[in-house]
Amino acid sequence: MSEMISRSMDEKMPLRIRMGIRFHLMMCSLCRNYKKQLWIIHRAVEKLDRMENFHDKPMRLPDQVREKLKDLFKDHE
């Protein structure tokens, strides 16, 4: 069931299976929690992206890389 809940997030399952999942969810609060958690994870991962909160430390391109790139660009001008 947990695999089907996950898979239902990735593609449209046949109606019969979707009904089976829905019926199970009506009766199983643990699976309901699971599904909600997967949804929260999806929202949170997207939110971090929108906030540009990519790492636990600020992302800074090392100076070495910056200088190398700037030099390469100067050559192309």
Binding site: M1, S2, E3, S6, R7, M9, D10, E11, S29, L30, C31, N33, Y34, K36, Q37, L38, W39, I40, I41, H42, R43, A44, V45, E46, K47, L48, D49, M51, E52, N53, F54, H55, D56, P58, M59, R60, L61, P62, V65, R66, K68, L69, K70, L72, F73, K74, H76, E77
Partner: protein, 190 residues
Amino acid sequence: MPADEASTLSPPTTWVDTYGDYLYGFAFYRVQDEELARELVQETLMAALKAKDSFAGRGSEKTWLTGILKHKIIDSLRRKYRDAMFEDQDLDERKIHDSFDHNGRWKTGPAQWASNPEHLLEQKAFLDIIRKCLHELPERSAHALSLRELEGESTQTICKVLNVTATNCWVILHRARFLMRECIETNWLQ
């Protein structure tokens, strides 16, 4: 008519300072590897330099550069998984099976993380845990998840990029989510 800043590109030498850190973070978040992310930024800016005449002026240059980076990320992942022989650690179903009893029921089931999920998404501590758990995923799981959840790629595309069968693709995604949720619950509810 307002000045249209999007119609012409700023000088390439300014791209590094204006967008370098952002592109680095964007790439890192998706590939979860600092060295690879640095390479991808360099590839992206070099490609953008060569392609600058093709910038049509629709949309911002940030979006344009990000678009090039997204392609570079996918190409890089495709190369990586085409050539590598991968341990099937992220296909290992044992950890998932251990979570269920012989009747297929949850042993210790998923708890409620919060009565109000929206409020949860506002909490820095929670988001920090999400980021940490994403970083701790097996590499291929993290890549599968970012392709699916961030880029919205179809499972068909993901299978091709990861060079796996459709079935394994679903298993990889399932396990990625399963591990994420377990990690988050452990860290959040302690």
